[in-house]
Symmetry: C2
Subunit: 234 residues, 2 copies
């Protein structure tokens, strides 16, 4: 069962409690182990992780800052919903960030950056080979995050990270529908993008990233459209 990661979690050092809770919750939220709209009980969490409510609350504040949970004053905090009605804003920002981060990577990348990027691409290719959809989602995220890092702009890195996380949730909903034709195409597209970054060809990087983003957006829209359920913001 894909229940919320049942970590007993003893032996923690001082000063890492908040990070610990934060990462567990974040992971559970992005994997949809905690589905959107589900309440997050502080006391329950405190018992499960055998710690006080204080670090848990601080982790929740942090998650709220990133938009992963919503806190109703004096009422329960719930996992943030996916706003299916305004997905075009998400797609718009996503496409823009794909473009600018890839552009900047082509401009500022070092050889070290390139090595890191290639590692992530290899991991993505392996995931595709193994037809492991969950791993594809995760490694794809890591690859593009690494490209953004190579672009050196912390503001873009931050926003893009948020968007990639949200995309991870979105993909996670539909990962069953993955066939293996599309992911292979992504591997090739990634290769082209990386080549452009290596060649420091900014124009090509921009164009390829734009096409790649369009591909992904189109696929997501197709998945959503094919879905029989009428997804509604709860």
């Amino acid at each position: 069962m894909t229940k919320t990661s049942d970590t007993a979690a003893p032996e923690r050092k001082r000063g890492e409690g908040v990070r610990f809770v934060y990462e567990i919750l974040r992971d559970d939220i992005l994997n949809l182990a905690l589905p959107p709209g589900s309440p997050v009980d502080e006391i329950q969490l405190a018992e499960r992780l055998s710690m006080s409510r204080t670090p848990i609350r601080e982790a929740l504040v942090r998650l709220a800052g990133e938009g992963l949970v919503t806190t109703l004053p004096n009422r329960s905090t719930v996992v943030a919903n996916i706003d299916f009605l305004n997905l075009h804003h998400f797609f718009d920002a996503m496409t823009l960030m794909y473009r600018v981060t890839t552009r900047l990577a082509a401009e500022y990348r070092t050889d070290g950056d390139l090595a890191v990027i290639r590692n992530h691409q290899a991991a993505f290719a392996r995931a595709v080979e193994a037809q492991d959809a969950l791993a594809m989602i995760a490694t794809n995220r890591d690859l593009h995050a690494a490209i953004a890092e190579a672009g050196r702009n912390p503001y873009y890195v931050s926003l893009f990270g948020r968007l990639l996380d949200e995309g991870r949730r979105l993909l996670r909903i539909y990962y069953l529908s993955f066939d293996d034709r599309l992911p292979r195409r992504y591997v090739d597209e990634h290769e082209d993008i990386i080549a452009a970054i290596e060649a420091r060809d900014i124009a090509a990087a921009d164009r390829l990233a734009s096409q790649h983003a369009d591909q992904i957006v189109a696929q997501l829209q197709r998945l959503i459209a094919e879905d029989r359920r009428r997804p509604v913001t709860l």
Copy 2:
């Protein structure tokens, strides 16, 4: 003296403590009442605001999430430094956000949005008339935030808000150098931008916003270049 706002602060309702501290600290940081690099003492704050350390810590976590303070583990939390060495990344993101938010405003604005925007522009014009540099900074921020809101994209609104805040700190350093020629020009440029938004002329909005951003960036760069001090990341 422009000391940290000495609010005695009694009579608070339950559930607003965190927001209260958050807004005070945020204001002090953006006004440079708390200069970059200065430590934030939780106990001192707790005494001054006559409240426990818990809500103060949660406010600090939130501020850390927005990059306004930096938390060293098991060590003091300090007001975030201004990274003068990488300002071009800031300018780059700033220019891009000016453009996309103004574009989207021209696309999605309602009449209500327009009224709000005009109000902010009027306030900005008054600040310029009164030669009140601090008010100019604040109202300019509000105006562009309102334009971003009219564009309806929460991701852009969020990032742009962060950038505008950072810009507020930056401008605050140099506000003494303001002459009254430039701000008047900004009033006119704002008028043009608002007209384009009203006419739903996306191309014009994009072009004007781009020029406007270039103006502001150029002015900031000039101020920094003229500054005799060698600003260094402490």
